[in-house]
């Protein structure tokens, strides 16, 4: 067992004293560990954890890792059709979560570990190494793809973040972002294990007043939010209790928004971060509270130990950001991965267009065309198109951003049929997560479409 895995596993007893949520259950880690041992899966078998933010989720995640399995967290709202597809494409050996219905997954073996149900797929060969971790990239790379990280790379990234944001055992961190995404899982939860800080786990629905109350009652010193939540707080004029630091990541933050946030007396330190799952995830940070005003529209400079390069910059200096980081993933997996995003000299291709100024500040310019951010969530338009195209009447689909932060899907019918757009929307809704469901579906004439 490597040092990072040993550190995570050995921290559980201490973590149990430092982490809490708002549920009535108090999971017993030892029972979870033994429950996974009884499953007797082969080392390197992937376990899909299908659960909302909670201490129980975190302990299940660690217990799978400690047994030499490969944890893979997924949004609990994910539809069973996608879960079944992932089970096959990523060679998932077991699915774990509350209230699982084994009939939906056509599995014969059904167990119970702690408060969660477990569906086991016998004869699924292990595709990974013990102490690997799968992080899904449903938003950016398509619905059935994941990064294969090692626990060392995640601990490394969490440590870099802690060091850069000065997070220590004296802090108390509030988790409001989903723990099945990088930020909540790696930056905050694994970060708390590494730093020794306290961790308070909350979950949806998000409510600014409750957020303020929680910070006050729980004596929270640090929290991480998305730009969508930050805009909501600014729009409502929410007054928070004093925070030592607030970090924002996951989408672009404007110069005006950074200025507005810095004007709030309750934010002492404001960090704007950039990252991507493949990088483990954090790459760069702007400590806005000490940065020059002209850098407010940037994502700062790379973490110490991270190298970057702008690939083939155009006349305006715009090119793809390449990153070399000790926390990079080992590889990407999934049925539509035809290219590993690495250069011959070991840089990660981010797929994001950036500039870098003379002072070293990185500025985001654009994302690859098939990725949208809608209602604060990333979505991959190609994944939406594939779901639409699985409808028997649809020949082809193209999804794009519409007006007012909306998603619009244009459809071309088979055999010039008149499409029942409401029925197709219901069909798509049964497979997609809510933020992926198009706000508007339009039928186009065949003559307009060129493959």
């Amino acid at each position: 067992m490597n040092a990072a895995a040993r550190m995570i596993i050995d921290s559980v007893a201490d973590l149990a004293r430092r982490v809490s949520d708002f549920s009535d259950t108090s999971p017993k880690y030892d029972q979870l560990f033994e429950g996974y041992a009884r499953l007797a899966l082969q080392p390197g078998s992937a376990v899909l954890i299908f659960a909302p933010n909670s201490v129980e989720f975190l302990f299940h995640w660690i217990a799978t890792l400690a047994n030499g399995y490969v944890p893979c967290a997924i949004a609990p709202s994910t539809k069973s059709s996608l879960v079944s597809a992932l089970q096959k494409s990523l060679n998932i050996a077991a699915i774990v979560g509350p209230r699982l219905d084994p009939a939906r997954y056509q599995a014969k073996r059904f167990e119970k570990i702690g408060a969660f149900d477990v569906v086991v797929f016998d004869r699924t060969p292990p595709s990974y190494e013990p102490f690997d971790v799968l992080i899904l990239t449903t938003g950016t790379s398509g619905s059935q793809t994941a990064c294969v990280h090692t626990i060392e790379s995640l601990v490394c990234n969490a440590s870099m973040t802690n060091k850069t944001l000065n997070i220590t055992a004296a802090d108390k961190q509030l988790v409001v972002l989903p723990m099945y995404h990088c930020y909540g899982l790696i930056t905050q939860s694994i970060g708390a294990i590494v730093s020794g800080c306290e961790l308070k786990i909350d979950g949806p629905p998000f409510n600014p007043s409750r957020f303020a109350d929680l910070i006050r009652k729980e004596n929270i010193s640090i929290c991480g939010i998305t730009p969508t939540i930050a805009r909501d707080l600014l729009r409502r004029g929410t007054v928070l209790p004093a925070l030592r630091s607030m970090s924002i990541g996951g989408d672009r933050v404007s110069r005006e928004e950074v200025t507005s946030l810095l004007s709030k007396p309750f934010i002492n330190e404001l960090y704007v971060t950039y990252g991507l799952t493949e990088a483990g995830p954090r790459v760069s940070v702007l400590p806005a509270h000490v940065a020059p005003v002209e850098a407010y529209d940037s994502v700062g400079k790379p973490f110490s130990g991270v190298s970057i390069r702008i690939e083939k910059p155009d006349a305006g200096g715009v090119g793809q950001l390449l990153v070399k980081t000790p926390s990079v993933c080992r590889r990407k997996v999934g049925p539509n991965i035809v290219h590993q995003p690495f250069t011959a000299d070991g840089f990660l291709e981010t797929g994001d267009l950036f500039t870098q100024d003379a002072a070293g500040y990185l500025r985001y310019v654009a994302r690859k065309a098939d990725i949208l951010i809608v209602k604060g969530e990333k979505l991959n338009t190609r994944s939406i198109d594939l779901v639409a195209e699985s409808h028997p009447d649809v020949e082809c689909a193209r999804t794009a951003a519409g007006d007012m932060n909306s998603v619009v899907t244009r459809l071309w019918a088979r055999e010039n049929k008149i499409l029942d757009l409401e029925e197709i929307k219901r069909f798509m809704k049964s497979s997609l997560r809510l933020h992926e469901v198009p706000d508007k579906i339009i039928q186009e004439q065949e003559a307009v479409f060129h493959k």
């Binding site: 299908f50 949806p204 409750r210 809704k429 997560r433 809510l434």
Partner: protein
């Protein structure tokens, strides 16, 4: 089962596509933990409840406590 609870089950299944048989959704099930509703799901649930029951749920009432279970949500609707 109250009419309100029945209507809430309809919303969960028809609008949020919660993958449960109607009869398996117990009033005490956690919407988040047991039914897997996420942040955008709660936003949709709030909108559908407002539409179907012709009420307005204030931001102060849009809390994990009020949206914990069918029972707590029924109580919130009854208070309007």
């Amino acid at each position: 089962m109250s009419n309100i609870e029945a209507c809430l089950r309809d919303i969960l299944i028809e609008d949020l596509f919660v993958e449960f048989d109607r009869d398996r959704i117990l009033p005490t099930y956690s919407l988040r933990q047991d039914l897997g509703i996420d942040s955008l799901g709660f936003v949709e649930l709030r909108e559908q409840v407002e539409k179907r029951f012709s009420i307005v749920i204030s931001d102060d009432d849009f809390t994990p406590e009020n949206f914990a279970t069918l029972s707590s949500l029924t109580s919130l609707i009854n208070r309007h």
